[in-house]
């Protein structure tokens, strides 16, 4: 699964890394550390990746199946 965290939309709401800690993490300012570049997660983390996306109030996270 490809995950894209839009760094123009991320405002450090902090839901992704709390609810999906194996996929997302906090940088030292409380923003999503993974917002700087698209990345892939293995199948077993797909559910967490999607969970993080669903929790984001800014709709900053997009998950795309299949890669």
């Amino acid at each position: 699964m490809r995950v894209h965290v839009d760094d123009k939309l991320c405002t450090g709401q902090g839901r992704c890394f709390v609810e999906a800690p194996d996929v997302y993490s906090s940088d030292e300012d409380g923003y999503c550390k993974e917002r700087h570049a698209e990345f892939s997660v293995p199948d077993e983390l797909a559910e967490q990746a999607r969970r993080g996306a669903e929790w984001c109030p800014q709709a900053a996270i997009t998950c795309t199946d299949g890669e």
């Binding site: 405002t11 906090s26 300012d29 969970r51 669903e54 929790w55 709709a59």
Partner: protein, 401 residues
Amino acid sequence: MSYSTVDVDLTRGGVAGSHFEEIDKLRESTPAFWNESGRGYWALTRFDDVRDAFQSPALLSNDSIVVTEPNPPFRMIPSNAGPPEHMLYRQTMNAWFAPAAVAKHEPFLRQTANDLIDELIGEGGCEFMSTYGTLFPARALVAMMGLPQSETPVLVEMTGRITGSVGATDADARARAAGALDAIRGYFAELVRHRRSTPADPQLDFVSHLLQVGFADRHLLDDEILDICMTLVLGGLRTTRSQMGWCMYHLATNPIDRQRVIDDPFLIRLAIEEFLRAYPIVNVARKVVSDVDFHGCPMKEGQMVLMFVQSANRDPLVFDRADEVVIDRRPNRHIAFGASAHRCLGSHLARAELEITLEEWHRRIPSYRLGTTDTLQASGGHIALLELPLTWTVDGTGSAK
């Protein structure tokens, strides 16, 4: 999409819970309105539109964020700053309120919760808002700023004089608030003066940090540091208190939910998100930069627009059973802390305060209930319980049953 014209005073006090119901009705009756009340202001009521408004700083500025006050008498930093200065200011502060910073203070916060509970538990009851609800957030903010706890009482006293909103329409309330703000500013001016001549450790003392941190190609001016301190105090005390009140109110009046939280403290994290969503305490506002037709509203330069979080959070187009409090709701993408770059700096701290409070309170006083049969009252605008009497049974050893 069209808008309605209304004349409602959202700041009127009322029965606890009534404000949320009134807002729900307003939202379901119209997606947007011009409120003629006072000077008048725009509002969008749907989650998607409110979020879009939050994400449109070029159209809607932070020059004022108090809907009844288009020309604020004082500046809040970073709240009234726009791009690019806004993020530069935030960068001087973010790390101090980030999750890792809050986690460092967790042992202190947990001890403070227990200290306050120790003082109350033997009494078999309390008025929560003026005791725990006031003292815990104050002690927490003082700790986060690296100040000694001996400073807490004076901050509590000064902020206690700001009742309701600083945009209150009552002239006496505004005068009282203005006096209290002067006192708070004077307090921090003295603190800044002291730290300039005798700096404390900039890794531990927030004001000392602000005095030496790089800001663009310079350092912060004293006025900027004062504006920042004012914002922290205005943003971090009564808000947390108000939200805490709703959490305790809900669990005091919903014994099934309270028992679920007692049986499974891991539920507390989700429950807090739901309380933030369903009992939204505050809105913010923006000022129209230049004439624009925004979601069907012909907004004119200089007009104020309410960022109607209290409505957006309970929008049934986004949340199933939006008017029900579902304490294990997930996901829960509410916007209680805003939905823009100005997202509440204290959001991680607020959550920690709420979590630790609910954990410790339910561990030590699990069987509390409402301590009155009188109808509880809440303020409007900033929606908060005026009082929350709680009662519980104490056994022979002074512990709660």
